[in-house]
């Protein structure tokens, strides 16, 4: 056993169980897996954004080492058209083939697949495939797509709008009529992406005799993937098994099932060889999953004192040319529309959304897919405060739903209960000492230095409580716990750890039920033949609440079995027994007891000596519906210094004050918050997927698409409010997405403060900063004059 005796108890920063293997190079990621007679796949991808195509692959078929070459026509009998009938009202299903048949819709569209003896030989053969491109007019952006003269990417979606919907909550017209001011802006997020360090990939093995397909994949919804693979390959779902090895990050981007997943499996079925495909970085940047590219026109109806009366929100999402299965971006707007008011009192609002197709990469989930609600709202609040002559913190104070008002019925009809966003704001303001900062900012300005401060406050459904879950398409989660013959415990979870440390945190919660060291709990995950069904897998900051909720309940059921069995053997009723340290004993006679090893051993190996109704294993399955789960919340504060000569931005201090209830493992919580915040820093200051006016991508390497490095991300201070005194049973709430959601508005608000100008776009590059400084004029020297 490791470390201090207390290491592993709930609330301790227990060292992670997964780390020794990951630290010594003994992790097993999908690219590390192999199989006898392994073959390798590579894709020929379109070099133009939009065209009719004809493909001649004949020369490649006889190239050295080539096992098979597939075009769309070659796979027609193996793989059905790509579709997933998600039941979202108002959404047009964009059906297409897995390999482009007669038309390509973006640079990177897969046109042909080569399967060869090595990846090198597969890529050699790609060069022998001839594609004739008859180019169509490109659709590089939303404005072009919505022009009636633009070509439709899909015949079924004329006008390039496959989804349009609207909703109205409360008396919006009345709110706007009675307002002293209506203040609105169009707030624009740019296209950026999760960019996990491990790209996508899979290894498919098909057993022709039994018809079983096993797909090892870097993906975190394996049960959903199994169903999608089965449907598209026309196999019975129970003959398909998806296994997830160690995974090198995702941040939502590997949640969906992609065309390449279908194609690699089809290749294994057709060639009879195990087939592995590992995405390269250029492919990942082109088609591995884009996000965030949308604009939200947000109008606030306010009283002169800053009281919010209503909002109008109009969202336009640039979803690119294809959707991954089944996550059409329309799905994200179900939660997004509910969250627009965030933690604020907004008696009425309306919401309108259009998704728009362009010749760009697919839009996928990325760490808080609804994040635009927080960014746009928090930016607009600063703008409204400025127009009304209020401080940013003051307009928030006046509108945040206070604890005394809860349970609070939101305009959309769900209940906000137990949230503490105002407490995170007040604590952050104490720590920020703004009076002192403002004085320092003025003095700095006189010296020609540009400083700024910004803050943002938000709530994160984790998972949001019964009503929110029902309205946003939530779901349940199941776990299974089993005592092994050694007295150790196995947990079978449908969570798919890929950095979140579930092998440790879920072990901590199960171990607590048995009084075992956390290292005595094995967490089994990522195999559809072993783990309980879940449509979601890991996503939506669910693990802390759903994963641990299901695990705890299953562990308690097994604990009851253990106590009943031991009670029978010790001749004592269960309520007179204690279970601690892996041993059951009679409370009054601690020397009289049985170890879990003895009990499990008896059940497994000596059933004849036990009562006839004793189960054959100590195991139980339990389901948790998340109904008593709530929200995590935080206030982020950001301090910046801008170099007026170069436009470089330095984050000089960053503070997060958060409340996620009771923490299972604070080191894991803080890792999630810091990692998410770093992605927010990247999104605002560095990362941007560029396309030119003809929809040609300009960011094909990680030297063009800049991920923040150790030299760019500041230290991030974190303050946990912790559970309120007298709070109920342990209440663990997820924090996976919050950092990435709340950091962008804190940073852009700080930059807006520094530059003395409204910032209504999320991407703030040095050239933007310099242009803003020039526009602001002030006393700063124009850098271009030097």
């Amino acid at each position: 056993m490791t470390g201090e005796p207390e290491e592993g108890r709930i609330g301790s920063p227990a060292r992670r169980i997964e780390d020794p293997r990951l630290l010594t190079g003994r992790g097993r990621y999908v690219a590390d897996l192999t199989a006898p007679h392994l073959a390798h796949a590579a894709f020929l991808r379109s070099t133009v954004p939009h065209a009719r195509i004809t493909v001649d692959a004949s020369a490649a078929r006889t190239a050295p080492g080539v096992i098979a070459v597939f075009t769309a026509a070659d796979l027609a009998g193996t793989l059905g058209p790509v579709r997933f009938d998600a039941s979202i009202p108002g959404m047009t299903q964009l059906v297409h083939t897995a390999l482009a048949d007669d038309r390509v819709r973006l640079v990177g569209d897969p046109v042909a697949m080569v399967v060869a003896e090595s990846r090198y030989l597969a890529e050699d053969a790609l060069e022998l495939i001839e594609v004739r491109y008859d180019e169509l007019p490109p659709v590089p952006d939303v404005a072009t797509a919505l022009d009636p003269a633009a070509p439709a990417l899909y015949d079924v979606a004329p006008g390039n709008v496959p989804y349009h919907d609207s909703a109205r909550y409360g008396d919006v017209d009345g709110a706007f009529r009675s307002a002293d001011r209506v203040i609105g802006r169009t707030l624009r997020q740019h296209r950026y992406m999760a960019a996990p360090l491990e790209t996508r990939g899979g290894l498919a093995v098909h057993e022709p005799a039994g018809g079983e397909l096993t797909y090892h994949a870097s993906a975190h919804a394996p049960h959903l993937m199994r169903m999608v693979l089965a449907a598209h390959l026309r196999l019975p779902p129970h003959r398909v098994r998806v296994v997830v090895p160690d995974m090198g990050g995702s941040f939502g981007s590997k949640w969906g099932i992609t065309r390449e997943d279908l194609l690699v499996c089809a290749a294994a079925v057709r060639t009879g060889r195990p087939v592995r495909w590992i995405e390269d970085r250029r492919e990942n940047l082109l088609v591995g999953g884009h996000a965030r590219d949308e604009s939200l026109h947000l109008e606030a109806a306010v009283r002169a004192d800053g009281t919010l009366l209503g909002l109008r929100a109009k969202l336009v999402m640039d979803i690119g040319a294809y959707s991954v299965i089944p996550m059409n971006p329309a799905f994200f707007t179900l939660a997004l529309r509910l969250l627009i008011p965030g933690p604020y009192r907004v008696p009425a609002y309306d919401f309108e959304v259009s998704t728009v197709c362009t010749n760009k990469g697919p839009y996928v989930a990325y760490r808080g897919p609804w994040a635009v609600e927080t960014w746009a709202r928090e930016v607009l609040l600063d703008i409204v405060a400025g127009e009304l002559g209020l401080a940013p913190e003051e307009i928030r104070r006046r509108n945040l739903v206070t604890p005394a008002e809860q349970p609070y019925r939101t305009a959309a009809g769900w209940r906000l209960d137990g949230t503490r966003a105002p407490a995170t704001l007040e604590r952050a303001l104490e720590l920020a000492d703004l009076t002192r900062f403002r004085a320092e900012q003025r003095r700095a300005r006189e010296r020609g230095e540009v400083l700024g401060f910004g803050l943002a406050t938000f709530i994160e459904p984790s998972p949001g409580g019964a009503e929110f879950l029902a309205m946003s398409g939530g779901g349940k989660e199941t776990a299974r716990v089993r005592v092994e013959p050694t007295g150790e415990v196995s947990l079978f979870t449908s969570q798919i750890p890929h950095g979140q440390g579930h092998e440790t945190t879920l072990a901590q919660v199960v171990a607590a039920e048995f009084g075992l060291p956390y290292t005595a709990v094995r967490v089994v995950h990522g195999d559809t033949d072993a783990t309980p069904f879940s449509m979601v897998g890991t996503g939506g900051s669910r693990a802390a609440t759903f994963g641990s909720g299901a695990a705890t309940r299953a562990a308690r059921a097994v604990r009851d079995q253990v106590l009943r069995l031991a009670g029978g053997m010790l001749g004592a009723p269960a309520d007179e027994l204690e279970l601690a340290g892996g041993r059951v004993y009679v409370r009054e006679r601690p020397a009289t007891g049985l170890s879990m090893v003895q009990l499990a051993g008896m059940v497994s190996l000596a059933p004849a000596y036990l009562p006839p109704d004793t189960p054959t294993e100590l195991a139980a399955t339990a389901t948790y519906d998340g109904a008593d789960g709530g929200f995590a919340q935080a206030t982020h504060c950001c301090w910046v210094r801008v170099d007026p000569g170069t436009g470089q931005v330095e984050i000089t201090r960053y503070l997060v004050v958060e409340d996620c209830g009771s923490m299972i493992n604070p080191a894991v919580v803080e890792g999630q918050i810091r990692g998410g915040t770093a992605q927010g820093v990247g999104g605002v200051l560095y990362e941007r997927l560029h396309y030119d006016e003809a929809a040609r991508p300009l960011t094909g390497t990680l030297r063009d698409y800049l991920l923040p490095t150790a030299a760019d991300v500041p230290p991030i201070e974190i303050v946990h409010l912790g559970p309120e005194p007298g709070a109920g049973p342990p209440d663990h709430r997820g924090v996976g997405e919050g950092g990435a959601i709340c950091a962008p508005p804190a940073i852009t608000n700080a930059l807006s403060d520094a530059l003395g100008t409204e910032i209504t776009q999320q991407s703030v590059t040095p050239s933007f900063v310099l242009a803003a400084l020039r526009k602001a004029g002030a006393t700063l020297a124009d850098p271009l004059d030097r």
């Binding site: 470390g3 060292r15 780390d19 990951l22 190079g25 999760a194 960019a195 390269d280 991920l707 150790a710």
Partner: protein, 164 residues
Amino acid sequence: MESVELMVNGVRREGRVEPRRTLADFLREELGLTGTHVGCEQGACGACTVLLDGEPVYACLLFAVQARGHEITTVEGLAAPGELDPVQDAFRRCHALQCGFCTPGMLLAAHGLLADDPDPDEADIRGALAGNICRCTGYQSIVAAVRLAAAERRRPAAPEGAAR
């Protein structure tokens, strides 16, 4: 095909490779040392960092034949089986990894730094690791781990470093 002889983690290894085979692919596919990860093949992410004669290099930007006659250290060579070296142990204690994909490269970059500078300050560490991208942690825990490892290495009689 070309023959390659080199030292890998203190053991003499040889193989026959195409001249175009990268060192990263050679280590992973021919020698089975899959701890060297490939994140970009563009010389940008640092996941494939190994030590060549003690200096950190990107194994995706070298051909296997260029390593002929040199000494390579991969993550598998840092500690005996079942043990962690002081840098690995510091990473574990500081929670300096999440998904673990960047970790082998990060460890070797840290070793490269500590070999040159046994007492780096925070800015030195952040600068030295700027060629290795971590998408999970936000780096703070990695910087803390390198500082901790440096401090423990400087201790005169270091206690047994690897707990497990």
